[in-house]
């Protein structure tokens, strides 16, 4: 790990001022569960770390207008334990439950989960975010079992965040503070597929901080389903999150978002619109799964993930309507 300076601001304003124009000037430190690994592997080499855990305005979960406001430094464990979250957003709880280990849930934050870097093993082994060598993708003919089936241009890694699909399905927005004040972005558009190694996979500048997530309390039925191999310390192979506005037992409108299958969460609009006006049966859910993977382009070694994504959609839908 490269030696670095450590800053410990108490306000968002000070924190932003301590960040810099480039990613090598300074990085945000939240729970550190990813940031420190990135630094140990020399993937991040900031001259300064800006700890945001002592900034009071970034903490806590509370109702704000028609939204539930989740502070960026809320830990995954706090999220899971929160009563409002449990009542309104089972999809978020189940996504957070799947993360890592108790230790990671205790340290890892909501902001950190959204901003964590991809786990692509070429990226983590120092071959760059797009994993190219002499202009050719290492992923295409390489070991791509865990990679995207919805690549976007040269980006073949998968978005790591498990919270992102759930939040995107719920129509949440992130609030971002920078030198010129704050702005707000839909979670779904917060994730962007980079076209060069220098870009990031999130809509965030080096001197910006995610301050909160606003989740509309719309009453939509929601659920997420992750295909996981191991019981802990592992990543989903594919996931789906759904949110359904219901009228009786009929779907009025739906959002279906796939996770861990593309460089961003993949919003499956076709699947969602096909659900409108239907009641969810096993068959309808399976059809939604099929349409969600229309347009998937698996790589040489991950055709199996198409099946996983399908199944995840089907099971998330069944789970959503199982609940009263």
């Amino acid at each position: 790990m490269q030696a670095f300076e450590y800053a410990n601001p108490m306000t968002v304003k000070d924190a932003v001022a301590l960040l810099g124009a480039s990613w090598t000037d300074a990085n945000v430190l939240a729970g550190g569960t990813d940031q420190l690994s990135l630094m140990k592997d020399y993937i991040h080499t900031p001259k300064r770390l800006v700890n945001i855990k002592n900034i009071k305005e970034l903490a806590g979960i509370r109702k704000a207008g028609g939204n539930l406001r989740i502070g960026a430094t809320v830990t995954l464990d706090e999220l899971i334990d929160n009563r409002e979250v449990r009542m309104a957003f089972p999809s978020l709880v189940s996504a957070a439950r799947g993360v890592g280990s108790p230790q990671i849930k205790n340290m890892g934050t909501v902001g950190g989960d959204l901003c964590q870097r991809p786990r692509c093993w070429y990226f983590r082994n120092g071959f760059g975010l797009l994993a190219q060598k002499n202009g050719r993708s290492l992923v295409d003919d390489g070991q791509n079992e865990f990679h995207a089936i919805f690549s976007q241009g040269p980006a073949k890694f998968v978005s790591a965040s498990s919270l992102a699909p759930a939040l995107a399905a719920l129509g949440a927005t992130v609030t971002i503070a920078g030198p010129n004040g704050t702005r707000s972005v839909d979670v779904a558009s917060f994730f962007v597929a980079p076209s060069s190694d220098q870009q990031r996979e999130v809509d965030l500048k080096p001197n910006e901080i995610v301050t909160q997530v606003l989740v509309p309390m719309s009453g939509a039925k929601n659920a997420s389903y992750e295909v996981r191999l191991k019981d802990g310390l592992d990543w989903p192979y594919a996931a789906a999150a759904v949110a359904l506005r219901m009228k009786g037992s009929t779907v009025e409108s739906a959002r279906v978002v796939l996770g861990h299958v593309g460089p961003t969460p993949v919003v499956a609009e076709g699947a969602a619109s096909a659900l409108a006006g239907k009641s969810i049966t096993e068959e309808v859910a399976a059809q939604a799964g099929e349409s969600a993977v229309q347009g998937a382009h698996p790589l040489s070694g991950n055709a199996y993930k198409v099946q996983l994504a399908k199944t995840a959609v089907k099971r998330a839908l069944m789970e959503a309507v199982k609940r009263a």
């Binding site: 790990m1 020399y42 093993w121 060598k133 290492l138 191991k230 019981d231 192979y237 996983l308």
Partner: protein
């Protein structure tokens, strides 16, 4: 001469008891200090510069900036210009510095110019291996071609089990302090009596000048027998750093790539049987890699266990890959050939429409221990309710969850290694048992103490055991499942030799000849006559000021019936497979294992539990992933080098085959046999559940769904 034989089963008071391991609390509470925890005063830190290429030549290396960094005390080049490097992460240079951070920073200041050379790092496609493939020559018995032609049913299949690593929780390494001509050595090792000499040889010192000591080791599995380059370089760096202790342990990436692997085995197999299930022919072409050396496979291992099939052809090819070298891995090559064989046999049974339980039993006469296997198959079948729950291939019940049963067999030699022991009985009644052995987690401490307590008629806490130091009477390395046989025998003999001396000392006071005395319940008494006795303490007091110190050795040529070799085992698995996700869940594994005389059933079962868990890891998720384009290992971390956690292992039931017949053979090791059949049992259960063979392990969603979809492996 004392009668060294083990006391009859029914007379044992301490041996055979399910005692908890003596170091359990220390380990569970963190009080146990592993050598990687040891930090002698003044310790400085070593770090290794690893090669980023799979195959290259060092053109030049410049260490000047590293040497100039403040806090750096030693920089050593391990790969001089001109040296050809054969695998990724090979050692290029070593640095010692005041802190680990400085050492690592210094590594980044070393400039190396590499000439990159062509490499091969993947072996599953034999056709692509070209000149890297070295056939070992064909071994034929009988007439396999004719037998296959006339067989009623022939099955042909392809099977593959990838390279896995040892992934020791405590990585390889040591702390070394070299000052003057003395070396203090704290290695993480399976061979405390030998490893000091190994280091001494590497640094050209007399063996006696290296003092090696270790209380606990965090896993070795066959990969920790030597001082290794890491120990040797740490020693040199210590000397160059003014005799300060240098702590040098591998990081996880190095641990997973250069500290040993288990070779893969891929194979094309043809085998044939008569309609009644009699196996008549076996024909296999296997290949594997164990690194640049290729990887040899003893032709006698195929077909595994059912070795006496009358007609067989065995071809094996070693594939040299630019990957870290293999080391012995818990039962070297047996788990792989158990998988290849038992999977092929299971597929043949399916083609015969035969229950594999009947098929394996039918052919048990082709093994060298027919009766043992038949009884173990029956026992395991009982435990898993095979007869009630077995269905033919493919669970036909509705829904995505399919359930199946599978079975497999294993065998292992074991035996007792060379071991010497010294038992001291002091006039104050205290007893020390001393040997240069190590407890690699198997419970060696506990079983030696049980043997000594049994032999002296004393409780466990009356025995002080000293192990883990090369100043003690030498005892063999812990490998090949030979430790328990060796140390149980040497400690039995040394302890009875010491007891004989005590008998001689107290005989006059008890008015009986020494050979008429016995040690029972903390007393020395005239045989069968508790009235004529002395307490242990009173007896020892008769020694005056003279300590008894007697030696004993396990004589490998004549183990006196105390230990033996050769065991069999049967595992059966019950798994569920979600055919929509390819996720395989182990519901239950039952293991029936014979292992001769069992000193502590609880610890013996513990070995089997551990063996089964390692088998579950390899069956479900474990594999080393090499990337041909970059020549690198992509999962040199514990995130993508997946191992099962507590929630992934299901219910494990162990039955130790404790019978008078097994018992009278003496002690036989079981660390290795316990892990052999699990993989194949799970793979066969998965096939039984889903109706198709997943040819290549592990049984990950990818491999399972590809098999279900009829996709070739990518």
């Amino acid at each position: 001469m004392p009668n060294y034989s083990w006391p009859p089963m029914e007379q044992r008071r301490v041996m055979g008891k399910r005692l908890a391991r003596l170091d359990g609390a220390a380990k569970a509470s963190g009080k146990a200090k592993y050598n990687s925890d040891v930090r002698p005063a003044g310790t400085i830190h070593g770090a290794i510069l690893h090669c980023p290429h799979a195959h290259c030549r060092v053109r030049s290396i410049d260490t000047s900036a590293a040497k100039a960094l403040s806090g750096v005390t030693s920089v050593r080049v391990a790969a001089e210009p001109g040296k050809e490097i054969m695998w990724p992460n090979a050692e290029i240079a070593f640095v010692a510095a005041r802190t680990e951070e400085i050492a690592r920073e210094a590594l980044r200041l070393i400039k190396v110019d590499y000439e990159v050379l062509p490499h091969l790092v993947r072996e599953e496609n034999l056709a692509a291996a070209g000149s890297r493939a070295k056939p070992a020559g064909e071994v034929v018995t009988g007439d396999p071609d004719a037998a296959l032609r006339s067989a009623d049913v022939v099955h042909e299949g392809e099977y593959g089990i990838p390279v896995i690593t040892h992934c020791c929780l405590e990585p390889h390494g040591s702390t070394v302090q070299w000052s003057g001509n003395k070396v203090e050595f704290w290695p993480s090792t399976q061979a405390i009596s030998n490893v000091g000499g190994d280091l001494a040889k590497g640094i050209e010192l007399a063996a006696g000048n290296v003092h090696a000591h270790m209380d606990y080791v965090g896993g070795g599995f066959g990969s920790k027998f030597q001082a290794d380059l890491w120990g040797i370089q740490a020693a040199h760096m210590s000397k160059e750093s003014g005799g300060k202790p240098v702590k040098l342990y591998l990081d996880r990436a190095a641990e997973l790539t250069i500290a040993g692997i288990r070779p893969s085995v891929y194979g094309k197999i043809r085998l044939g049987a008569k309609r009644d299930g009699t196996l008549v022919a076996w024909d296999s072409l296997t290949w594997m890699t164990g690194g640049m050396a290729g990887g040899g496979l003893n032709a006698d291992l195929l077909p595994y266990v059912f070795r006496n099939v009358p007609n067989r052809r065995v071809n094996h090819t070693a594939v040299a890959t630019n990957t870290g070298a293999q080391r012995a891995w818990r039962a070297p090559n047996h788990p792989q050939v158990s998988f290849v064989t038992c999977a092929a046999l299971d597929d043949l049974a399916a083609k015969l429409n035969m229950d594999p339980l009947d098929f394996f039993k039918k052919n048990a006469n082709l093994t060298v221990r027919e009766a043992v296997y038949v009884s173990q198959l029956d026992k395991a079948a009982d435990m898993i309710e095979w007869k009630k729950r077995y269905h033919s291939r493919g669970d036909k019940t509705a829904g995505s969850m399919k359930r199946g049963l599978g079975l497999a067999v294993g065998t292992w030699q074991g035996g007792g290694h060379a071991s010497q022991c010294r038992t001291n009985i002091h006039p104050d009644g205290s007893v020390e048992v001393e040997l240069g052995s190590q407890d690699i987690g198997t419970g060696t401490r506990t079983i030696i103490t049980q043997v000594a307590a049994e032999s002296l008629g004393l409780p466990m806490n009356a025995i002080k055991l000293n192990i883990g130091d090369n100043g003690l009477p030498p005892s063999g390395a812990s490998g090949g499942s030979t430790t328990v046989g060796g140390v149980a025998s040497s400690s039995r003999i040394a302890t009875l030799n010491a007891l004989e001396k005590l008998f001689e000392a107290v005989a006059p006071s008890l008015g009986a000849p020494a050979d008429q005395l016995e040690a029972v319940d903390g007393k020395i008494q005239v045989k069968g006559n508790p009235a004529k006795s002395l307490t242990w303490k009173a007896a020892c007091a008769k020694l005056g000021v003279k300590t008894i110190s007697e030696n004993g050795a396990n004589d490998q040529r004549n183990p006196r019936g105390l230990n033996a070799a050769g065991v069999g085992g049967v595992h059966m698995a019950d798994v569920s497979v979600d055919v929509e996700t390819g996720v395989v869940t182990v519901n239950k594994v039952v293991a029936v294992q014979d292992c001769g005389l069992i000193i502590n059933p609880k610890l013996a079962e513990g070995q089997v539990f551990g063996g089964v868990i390692m088998g579950i890891c390899a069956a479900l998720m474990e594999e080393r992933v090499m990337d041909e384009a970059t020549g690198r290992c992509l999962n040199q971390d514990m995130e993508f080098y997946k191992l099962a956690g507590i929630g992934d292992i299901g219910d494990i039931q162990v039955h130790m085959d404790i019978t008078p017949d097994h018992d009278k053979r003496g002690v036989v090791g079981l660390g290795e046999p316990a892990t052999i059949p699990t993989i194949a049992a799970i793979a066969n259960a998965c096939t039984n559940a889903i109706g198709v063979r997943v040819p290549t392990l592990p049984l990950t969603p990818r491999n399972v769904l590809n098999a279900l979809a009829g996709r070739r492996m990518a």
